[in-house]
């Protein structure tokens, strides 16, 4: 069923009785050509592009809970293409271009809103770094503008400009960045994949990978054994656990990241702001809630909830930047488990096991990557060759010395 204004009017006049579920709830088939493990944004997008762009048939997405219950439904919804390094920039630019056409492509309102992201700078050195990054972005075909304090003031007059320790010296504005309604991304891809015949199997946890003579044969699940031609793993924070079923150890640690939403307020933050002197970023959702977050909790975790010290740190940083925040009440906070890689960059690669492919290591930045990660993973699964924009995301890059370390932190995942 296509959605349109005409359809909405028709349904409104006929008591909204014609709407149908957006995807089926099929029984697992004994065999699929492609089994995608993980019904998050990436897994669903992979299935969608496999079916649409590569016209692959017999595809299933296996999700242990319900689709969209993982990080795709827990993130702070920021999309951007403001990376510095060659291995990353073309990929995220490709992703942003896919976002720009996503709703037309999916016939689904994902509320893609290019409201602009402003990274504030507070020192001369930070301004130099922002200028360098901005130039790299422009050279890679993205957009960037360096604002002086007056330029920042025109956009966000309520910021704490003259703080004695962290005065605002300007900011790097990326106008095409913004936010997207995260749940709708999962649902839109699910509906699009389902319409093209993909089976979305929920409550179907993968508990084993059957491998013989170095080749994957299928997966054991809580809904029985499913034989598979190729298996693509896209399980975010659970990457080490699922790849562990194949005996693999990954360059990944799982960490918890928290996010926060205030009560609904009248519109006052038009875009996304990031603090340059502490870990804090903030936007305002279309419902009016301030959506903000900060740093990860720093220790390995699978608990999907964080601790109070980080709550305190985030709120302190927030108050340092936006004093008005102190008047708002916090409504909700939660945590998600992220696959933090050793250089802060992701993997989209084959493994040494025939037919087993891996997409993960997205850290806290995988939401913006959803369309391109799905597209590139589908490309790899179908053609056995990496997509041009994702060729650097290899699992063996630490062995070969080709790390993609945007922050230059070294092999310390909690610092990326």
């Amino acid at each position: 069923m296509r959605y349109s204004a005409f359809r909405l009017i028709k349904e409104a006049l006929t008591g909204h009785k014609g709407w149908r579920p957006q995807w089926r709830d099929p029984e697992p088939q004994p065999h699929y050509d492609y089994v995608i493990i993980g019904g998050g944004g990436h897994g669903l997008a992979t299935a969608y592009y496999l079916a649409k762009e590569f016209e692959a048939a017999r595809i299933a997405v296996l999700e242990k809970g319900w689709i969209g219950g993982g990080n795709v439904g827990r993130n702070t919804t920021i999309i951007r293409s403001n990376y510095l390094l060659d291995g990353n920039a073309p990929f995220y630019e490709f992703s942003l271009k896919l976002w720009e056409n996503l709703e037309q492509d999916l016939n689904y309102n994902a509320m893609v809103s290019q409201r602009g992201i402003l990274n504030l700078v507070h020192t001369d050195a930070q301004r130099d770094a922002a200028r360098r990054r901005g130039n790299a972005m422009i050279l890679h075909g993205s957009d960037a503008e360096l604002l002086d304090p007056a330029g920042v003031r025109a956009l966000y007059p309520f910021l704490n400009f003259d703080d004695a320790r962290f005065p605002i010296k300007g900011g790097l504005l990326h106008r095409r960045g913004g936010t997207v309604r995260h749940d709708a991304v999962a649902w839109g891809y699910a509906r699009g994949a389902d319409m093209r015949g993909v089976d979305i199997l929920q409550n179907c946890e993968v508990t084993g990978l059957r491998i013989e003579d170095g080749k994957v044969l299928g997966v054991d699940t809580t809904r029985g054994y499913i034989s598979a031609g190729k298996v693509g793993v896209s399980v975010a924070g659970n990457s080490s656990r699922v790849m562990g079923l194949a005996g693999m150890r990954l360059p990944i640690e799982s960490h918890v990241l928290q996010a926060f939403v205030s009560e609904g307020l009248k519109p006052f933050i038009p875009g996304v702001i990031t603090f340059g002197a502490g870990h804090f970023y903030c936007s305002q959702s279309d419902k009016g809630g301030l959506v903000f977050g900060g740093d990860i909790d720093m220790y390995n975790s699978y608990a999907q909830r964080g601790n109070l010290p980080v709550v305190e740190d985030v709120v302190e940083s927030g108050m340092a930047l936006i004093p008005a925040l102190g008047r708002a009440r916090l409504l909700r906070s939660w945590g998600g488990i992220m696959d933090m890689s050793m250089d802060g960059s992701p993997f989209i690669d084959k493994t040494h096991i025939d037919g087993l492919y891996f997409n993960g290591g997205w850290c806290y930045g995988g939401f913006k990557a959803t369309p391109a990660a799905g597209y590139c993973f589908a490309h790899l699964l179908h053609t056995d060759r990496p997509h041009d924009t994702a060729a650097a995301y290899r699992l063996d890059r630490f062995m070969s010395g080709h790390m993609i370390d945007e922050k230059g932190q070294g092999a310390q995942p909690n610092l990326h």
């Binding site: 656990r241 720093m298 601790n307 630490f398 092999a411």
Partner: protein
């Protein structure tokens, strides 16, 4: 989280910084034939278990000792705390005992 420091008693986890898996105490031998492979695994690959995890914490805001904390990554419950020095010495003793035997 409260870390029960073996010398100082219960301390807030905020006083510590976190390094990661306590396997980092077992640095490979640099002249080994397979040193390149071993250092790749040592530096970059992790077990990353959901459940019991032995990990290194540094008491930066305190006595600056390194601890090995055994913690459940599913619940954040801390099961055991040792001085990293004791763990490393015990390991060395076990290794030399093994060498004299073998």
């Amino acid at each position: 989280m409260i870390i029960n420091h073996p010398l100082l008693g219960p301390r807030d986890a905020q006083e510590f910084t976190y390094l990661g898996d306590a396997e980092l105490l077992n640095r490979p031998y640099w002249l080994s034939e397979t040193a390149l492979q071993q250092f790749h695994e040592y530096l970059y690959l992790r077990d990353n278990p959901a459940g019991t995890h032995r990990e290194l914490w540094f008491h930066e805001q305190g006595d600056r000792s390194w601890l090995v904390v055994t913690r459940d990554t599913g619940t954040h419950e801390i099961q055991n705390v040792e001085l990293a020095r004791d763990v490393a010495l015990a390991r060395r003793a076990a290794r030399t005992a093994g060498e004299t035997r073998g």
